[in-house]
C-alpha cells in the first residue's frame, strides 16, 4: 500500500472545475513531482490533500488515502492532529507565510508544544537545533527575531524547519523555490533533498520547473487542465516524453547544449479557464499535432509504468 493514494480527486469552486479527476500515489520515502503550468490545478491538489481549502468555497470529491485512511472523511480534529507529525507543507511565498508579529522562535516552538508535548527550555533547544539543521547561522539569536528581519532564503529555511519539526512522513512542498533567487533555489532544493534522504520522508514536490523535477524526483506526474496527462519514473519521462504537452514543456526550457541561436519553442496559447475534457483532449487547442481523433472523445490514461493521456502517442513518438 502506498503512503498516499489520490484517487479521482475533483475540486471545484462553484462552476469552475480546478481539479478534474486526478490519480497518483506517493510511496514511503519516495519523491514525487507534480508538474504543470499555473492554473493546472497542482496547488489546489496539494491544499485539498492537506484539508486547507476554504470549506465553503471549494467542493472536494474523490479520495486521498493516507496510510489507508481517507483524509476527506476524517473529522476536523483528527485531521488537525495529522497535520504536523504526519503531513506537513512548505509554502510558496516565505514572507507572507510567516506571521509578521510573532517571533521566529515562537512560530517553531508552537508546533513542538502542540505535537511533541515539548515545553519551555526543551522546546527552545529543539527550535535552535531545527534552525541549525536547515542551515541558519547563529540560530539562538534568530529565535527572537521577526520574519521581516530575515532574507527570503532564510525565511524559506524557517518554513522548512517548521514543516520538518515533527518529522512528518509526507512533506508537501508547493513551489518552495519560486519566490527565491536562483542561487538560493539550488540551496533550498539541496536542503529538502538532504532532509528527506536522511529521515526517509516522502516528498510531494509541486512545481512548474522541470529542472527541479530532474534533480529531485523519483516519479513525475504532469498535470494539464486538472488531470494527469503523463505519469512516469523521472528518468523515463525525460528520456521518452510521450504527451505533446510534456514535450512542449521540455522544449520551452532554455538549454546550454543547443546552438545559441536556436529559438525557444514555447507552447502557444495559455491554459483554458474552464477545463473541458468531455469533448476530447483539453490540450488539443494548443497542440501542434492535433488530429480529428483527439477531439472525438475523452482520451483515457494509457500504459502501466509510463502512463500518458494521448490517443496519438504512437504517431507522435
Amino acid at each position: 500500500m502506498a503512503l498516499l493514494e489520490v484517487e479521482d480527486l475533483r475540486v471545484s469552486f462553484g462552476e469552475t472545475r480546478a481539479v478534474d479527476g486526478v490519480d497518483f500515489q506517493v510511496d514511503e520515502g519516495q519523491v514525487v513531482g507534480l508538474v504543470g503550468e499555473s492554473g493546472c490545478g497542482k496547488s489546489v491538489t496539494s491544499l485539498a490533500i492537506m484539508g486547507l481549502l476554504p470549506r465553503r468555497a471549494a467542493s472536494v470529491a474523490g479520495a486521498a488515502r493516507y496510510d489507508g485512511v481517507d483524509l476527506f472523511s476524517l473529522p476536523r480534529g483528527e485531521m488537525r492532529r495529522l497535520r504536523g507529525p504526519d503531513l506537513a507543507m512548505v509554502f510558496q511565498d516565505p514572507l507572507s507565510s510567516l506571521n509578521p508579529v510573532v517571533q521566529i522562535g515562537r512560530q517553531i516552538t508552537e508546533v513542538l508544544e502542540r505535537h511533541r508535548g515539548m515545553r519551555g527550555e526543551a522546546a527552545r533547544k529543539e527550535a535552535v537545533h531545527l534552525l541549525d539543521r536547515v542551515g541558519i547561522p547563529d540560530p539562538a539569536r534568530r529565535l527572537g527575531e521577526y520574519p521581516h528581519q530575515l532574507s527570503g532564503g532564510m525565511r524559506q529555511r524557517v518554513l522548512i524547519a517548521i514543516s520538518v519539526a515533527c518529522a512528518p512522513r509526507l512533506l508537501i512542498a508547493d513551489e518552495p523555490t519560486t519566490a527565491l533567487d536562483v542561487t538560493i533555489q539550488a540551496q533550498i532544493l539541496e536542503l529538502l533533498k538532504d532532509l528527506v534522504d536522511s529521515e526517509g520522508t516522502a516528498l510531494l514536490m509541486i512545481t512548474h520547473d522541470l529542472g527541479v523535477v530532474a534533480g529531485l524526483c523519483d516519479e513525475v506526474n504532469v498535470l494539464y487542465s486538472g488531470r494527469v496527462v503523463e505519469s512516469a519514473p523521472a528518468r523515463d519521462l525525460f528520456a521518452r516524453p510521450t504527451h505533446p504537452y510534456t514535450v512542449g514543456l521540455l522544449n520551452s526550457i532554455p538549454r546550454l547544449d543547443l546552438p545559441i541561436h536556436e529559438p525557444l519553442r514555447p507552447i502557444r496559447g495559455s491554459i483554458a479557464d474552464v477545463i473541458g475534457w468531455n469533448d476530447g483532449c483539453a490540450f488539443a487547442p494548443r497542440c501542434d499535432r492535433v488530429a480529428e481523433e483527439c477531439v472525438a472523445g475523452e482520451p483515457p490514461l494509457i500504459g502501466a509504468a509510463h502512463m500518458h493521456r494521448c490517443v496519438r502517442a504512437e504517431e507522435v513518438a
Binding site: M50, L52, R80, R81, L82, R83, G84, P85, A88, M89, F91, D93, S96, S97, L98, N99, P100, V101, V102, R106, E110, V111, R114, H115, Y146, H148, Q149, L159, I162, S163
Partner: protein, 335 residues
C-alpha cells in the same frame, strides 16, 4: 524604542503649541471683546480704555500670546463668567465623572465590539453578521443625544429599570477619595455606593458607547476578514495548531492592530459625546458644565475645556502610537 518615544513627544509639543496659537487667534477674533462684556453698555470710552490697559489688551499681540501661554502652563484659565469660580477648579471637580463615564463607555464598546466583529467575520453572511453590520450602521447614524433621550424615556421613565439622572441616588452618603464613585466605593468598602453608581452609569455609558461600539465592530470585522485570508493563517492551519491558538496568536494579534489605532481616536472623541450624554442625564461632569458654558457664552470655560480635550487627545494618540510600536515589530524597527 526610546528614540521613537522622544520623537513622538517632540511632535506632541509642536501639535499643542499650534493648538494654543489657534485658540489664541479664536479668542482674539471673537466679536465684542471682553471689555464690552465686563462693562455696562453705558460705560465711557475712558473707562473702556482703562479696562483694556488693566487687562493687558493694549500690549503688542505677541506679548499677549506669551502671556496667554504662560497662564495656560500655570493652568490659569481665569474664572468662569457665570459662576465666578476658577475654571481649573470647576473642571477638576467635574473631570472624574466624565472620565468614569467615558471609561465605562469604552469598556462596553471594546468588550462587545471586538468579539462581535470577530464573530461576524467568522460567520460571514450569517444572521449574526447581518445584525452586526446593520446594527453598527444604525449605531453610527444615530445621534448620541437622541439615543440618550430614547434610552431614558424607555428604560427609566416607562420601565423604571434605571434611574433618570445623576451619579448617585440623591441623599446617598459616600466618602470622596478619587472622585470616581465606583472606585471610591471599592476603596472604602461602601458596596452599596458601588452598586448605586453602576446603576446610574448604565444608560449614559450605553448611549455614549453606541458610536465607538459600532466603529469598533466594523473595523474588527473588516480586519479579521482580511487576516483570515492571509497566508500565515493558512500556515498556522497547516501546522495542525488548535483553533484557539490560531485565533489568538495568528488571527487576533494581527487583526487588532488597526483596531487599536481606532480606539485611540475614539477615546478622544468620547469627551465630545459625553457633553451631550451628560446633559441628558444631568450627570454633573465636564460635559454638563460645557453645555452650560456654551449656552451662556462662557468663553474662558470653553477655552479650558478645549485645551483639556486637546491634551487628552494628543496624549491618548501618543499612547496608541507607543502601543503600536509594542504590538507591531515592524514599526519598532522602522523608527
Amino acid at each position: 524604542m526610546l528614540r521613537y518615544t522622544v520623537k513622538r513627544l517632540l511632535q506632541l509639543t509642536v501639535a499643542l503649541l499650534g493648538l494654543t496659537l489657534l485658540l489664541f487667534a479664536w479668542f482674539k477674533a471673537l466679536p465684542g471683546g471682553p471689555e464690552n462684556r465686563l462693562l455696562p453698555d453705558d460705560a465711557t470710552d475712558q473707562q473702556r480704555e482703562a479696562l483694556r490697559r488693566a487687562l493687558g489688551l493694549d500690549e503688542p499681540i505677541w506679548t499677549q500670546y506669551v502671556e496667554f501661554l504662560g497662564r495656560i502652563v500655570r493652568l490659569d484659565f481665569g474664572s468662569s463668567l457665570s459662576s465666578g469660580r476658577p475654571i481649573a477648579t470647576e473642571l477638576a471637580d467635574r473631570l472624574p465623572a466624565t472620565v468614569e463615564l467615558s471609561l465605562f463607555a469604552i469598556v462596553i464598546a471594546i468588550g462587545v465590539g471586538i468579539p462581535l466583529g470577530y464573530l461576524a467575520a467568522r460567520k460571514r453572511g450569517s444572521w449574526l453578521d447581518f445584525i452586526a453590520v446593520s446594527g453598527s450602521l444604525i449605531g453610527i447614524c444615530t445621534p448620541v443625544f437622541f439615543l440618550a433621550a430614547m434610552l431614558k424615556v424607555v428604560f427609566s421613565q416607562n420601565m423604571g429599570v434605571f434611574p433618570t439622572f445623576g451619579r448617585l441616588t440623591p441623599g446617598t452618603g459616600f466618602t470622596e477619595v478619587t472622585g470616581f464613585r465606583v472606585l471610591d466605593g471599592l476603596i472604602t468598602g461602601e458596596l452599596d455606593v458601588v452598586g448605586n453608581a453602576l446603576v446610574h452609569l448604565v444608560l449614559p455609558a450605553v448611549a455614549l458607547a453606541s458610536i465607538p461600539l459600532a466603529v469598533i465592530t466594523r473595523i474588527t470585522r473588516a480586519s479579521v476578514l482580511e487576516v483570515l485570508g492571509e497566508d500565515y493563517v493558512r500556515t498556522a492551519d497547516a501546522k495542525g495548531l488548535k483553533p484557539q491558538t490560531i485565533r489568538a496568536r495568528h488571527v487576533m494579534k494581527n487583526a487588532l492592530l488597526p483596531v487599536v489605532t481606532v480606539i485611540g481616536l475614539l477615546l478622544g472623541s468620547l469627551f465630545a459625546g459625553a457633553v451631550l450624554t451628560e446633559s441628558v442625564f444631568a450627570f454633573g461632569g465636564v460635559g454638563s458644565f460645557v453645555y452650560q458654558a456654551t449656552t451662556e457664552r462662557d468663553y474662558p470655560a470653553l477655552l479650558g475645556f478645549i485645551l483639556i480635550i486637546a491634551v487628552s487627545y494628543v496624549v491618548l494618540n501618543l499612547l496608541v502610537d507607543l502601543s503600536y510600536g509594542f504590538l507591531d515589530p515592524r514599526v519598532r524597527v522602522r523608527s
